[in-house]
């Protein structure tokens, strides 16, 4: 069965094209250390933005700036049209925030906690009961938070973040330490909020999870914006190879494939029953045609570069020591083109 694992999140519709976060050349210095250096970006309503970067890249600083907890050393940062930092702005803003590894107040119950936060945000109490039910916490609403699992705490955290139906939601490592089901639940809620027009900024290291949900990624490195854009545009910018995954190869097929100089040059991984070829985007069709002519494989799939690969690419460019080298072979595109063309002529 032929199938393609293609992701094209750039085509997701944007519910509302209003700019809710606009950063123009913002920098933030702590003494002589520049945590953020000349960063510019925009976030539209209804967009999911993945904020990526190595540890210490400036992600948390950027989130704190958007939240108004810090003020930029230079540049302009506007959230919902207000310059961040002023109390008047914060009172008028509609922001939700889920911090990383927040432990809340262990001696309170889920019900008490949400009621407390609801009062501080001026939200009516029925909303609390609604959210407890929506996030599957109704049965545990009177249990102390010290007895809650990590997944339950994160659900509660997301519930408090969306108490006041925010226009901008900031999530700091929302899925760290969660099991796949709990992560899927969180991303399902994120998708719902996105559909309602909420702009969501997710700072995360779990790239595989965020890849399918995001509209754009902002990649930070050493305080600078290394890249930003949809996965498709980042793939195009990085020119990383596509992967052709060949499943269940017989020995004869494998030997035939490895005997072919063009295909052999593309082999990235050769273990178990399958084999992976790394092929540049523009050569994908040509190599695939060549492959099917030479080795009639029955089951294969094509995977474009993942967000993880894109991220590694930028981290490598930043500093080779920051990122472990991906096990890829360097393929000379011109050589493959020439070889394929020569074969077709012959």
């Amino acid at each position: 069965m032929n199938h393609q694992t293609l992701t094209c999140s750039a085509n997701k519709p944007v519910v509302n094209a209003d700019v809710v976060v606009k950063a123009t050349n913002i920098s933030k210095c702590y003494g002589k250390f520049k945590a953020l250096d000349d960063v510019s970006f925009e976030v539209l309503a209804g967009q999911v933005i993945a904020l990526l970067g190595h540890n210490g890249a400036g992600k948390s600083t950027l989130l704190k700036l958007i939240l108004g907890l810090l003020t930029p050393t230079s540049g302009l940062l506007q959230v919902q049209g207000y310059s961040v930092g002023s109390m008047n702005a914060r009172q008028s803003l509609s922001l939700g925030y889920l911090p990383e590894n927040v432990s809340f107040y262990d001696n309170m119950t889920a019900n008490e906690l949400l009621r407390y936060f609801a009062k501080l945000k001026g939200v009516a109490l029925p909303k609390v009961y609604e959210l407890l039910a929506e996030f599957g916490l109704e049965a545990a609403k009177d249990k102390r938070l010290s007895t809650f699992s990590k997944g339950m705490r994160q659900r509660l955290g997301l519930a408090q973040a969306i108490l006041a139906e925010p226009k901008v939601l900031l999530l700091d490592e929302p899925t760290v330490g969660l099991d796949p089901l709990a992560s899927a639940f969180l991303y399902q809620k994120i998708a719902q909020l996105r559909a309602q027009g909420c702009a969501i900024i997710i700072s995360t290291h779990e790239l595989g999870l965020v890849q399918d949900q995001m509209d754009r990624a902002l990649i930070l490195g050493r305080g600078r914006m290394l890249a930003s854009g949809s996965l498709t545009s980042l793939r195009a910018a990085t020119q990383l190879s596509n992967h052709i995954l060949l499943h269940f190869l017989s020995n004869t097929q494998r030997q035939a494939l490895l005997a072919d100089p063009i295909l052999a040059a593309c082999v990235k991984a050769n273990a178990g029953q399958g084999l992976t070829l790394a092929v540049p985007q523009e050569q994908k069709s040509a190599v695939l045609n060549h492959l099917l002519q030479k080795v009639p494989v029955g089951d294969f799939s094509i995977e474009p570069p993942s967000l993880q690969s894109v991220f590694h690419h930028y981290m490598e460019s930043l500093c080779p020591l920051q990122s472990p080298k991906m096990p890829t072979k360097t393929i000379n595109i011109t050589d493959i083109n020439q070889a394929i063309n020569l074969e077709s002529v012959l």
Binding site: K64, L67, G68, L69, L70, M87, R90, Q91, L93, L95, Y97, P99, E100, N101, V102, S103, F104, Y105, N107, Y116, F117, K119, L120, K121, G122, Q160
Partner: protein, 290 residues
């Protein structure tokens, strides 16, 4: 901004402060801190009142002035310690757990948080002091004659009011340190040193200096040095409120009572300490990057 908007903001600030205060108060009810503090003060006051004479070989109820003097001497150790333990992790604890960062993203000003916490802790200390000393006072009033009843009522009222004020000063000192450090353990360590200096060492140094270097210390300098330490102010206030000839003759602390300042001014000064520390904490917190 029109008048209705101003009123709305003020009501909103009041609502936020009272919400935070209620949470702090409930926390201290839940972890039984309030009952523990009230119990300790009650036990202390009952022991001093009814068993204080045992050390002299008799078992009689002391004179009101003697009881109050004993209570003041012991309270000056207990109350600041209790207040410190109540407040040392108020900010640094929330910083460590991540809840402070979260709260600051809410539509509230930082002074709301300081005032809310302070109001909650003030309620805890007020109830603890009223229960702890008030019950003993009531028992003593019910046992005494008319003259003693009045003296006890006045003395205990001053003791309770000044105890509350002293506790609040140390609650705020706890906030101050809690705002300035990054670990709970460090906050507690610094506050215990501060307690040790203000409650134990300061007096000894001051009295030694007065006795040993009397030519250098005139009355004004001495008064000023007393005013710089809220625990001395507490002692001086209570000694002034319950004058006793026999006590005055025996106690070296009489010097403290001879500051020449009136009771209202002493209450005002303790209140001034509270106001200054509250402003100071709000100011530190306002300009702090989390």
């Amino acid at each position: 901004m029109n008048r209705s908007e101003v009123l709305h903001r003020r009501l909103s600030a009041l609502s936020i402060v009272s919400t935070i205060a209620a949470k702090e108060f409930k926390d201290n009810l839940r972890n039984r801190w309030l009952w523990m503090m009230a119990g300790i003060l009650l036990l202390l006051s009952l022991c001093v009142s009814f068993m204080g004479s045992a050390v002299s070989g008799n078992l009689v109820v002391f004179e009101p002035a003697q009881i109050l003097s004993g209570l003041v001497t012991l309270s000056v150790f207990m109350l600041p310690l209790g207040a410190i333990l109540l407040s040392y992790d108020s900010f640094v604890g929330e910083k460590e757990s991540g809840t402070l960062l979260l709260l600051l993203t809410y539509p509230l000003a930082r002074w709301h948080l300081v005032c809310g916490k302070f109001l909650g802790h003030a309620c805890v200390m007020t109830i603890a002091c009223i229960l702890g000393f008030g019950l003993t006072g009531l028992i003593l009033i019910s046992l005494g004659d008319t003259q003693a009843q009045l003296s006890i009522a006045i003395g205990f009222t001053h003791l309770i009011m000044s105890s509350i004020l002293l506790s609040l000063v140390f609650v705020l000192l706890g906030y101050w340190v809690s705002l300035c450090v990054r670990e709970k353990a460090k906050a507690l360590g610094i506050l215990l040193i501060l307690w040790f200096v203000l409650v134990l060492v300061y007096d000894l140094i001051l009295l030694s200096a007065v006795v040993g270097m009397s030519e250098m210390f005139n009355r004004t300098v001495f008064n000023l040095l007393i005013l710089l330490n809220p625990t001395d102010l507490f002692r001086a206030l209570n000694l002034l409120a319950t004058p006793s000839d026999t006590l005055a003759a025996k106690s070296s602390l009489t010097l403290l009572a001879q500051t020449g300042l009136g009771l209202p001014l002493m209450y005002g000064l303790l209140g001034g300490w509270i106001g200054a520390l509250l402003l100071c904490c709000s100011w530190i917190f306002k300009y702090q990057e989390i």
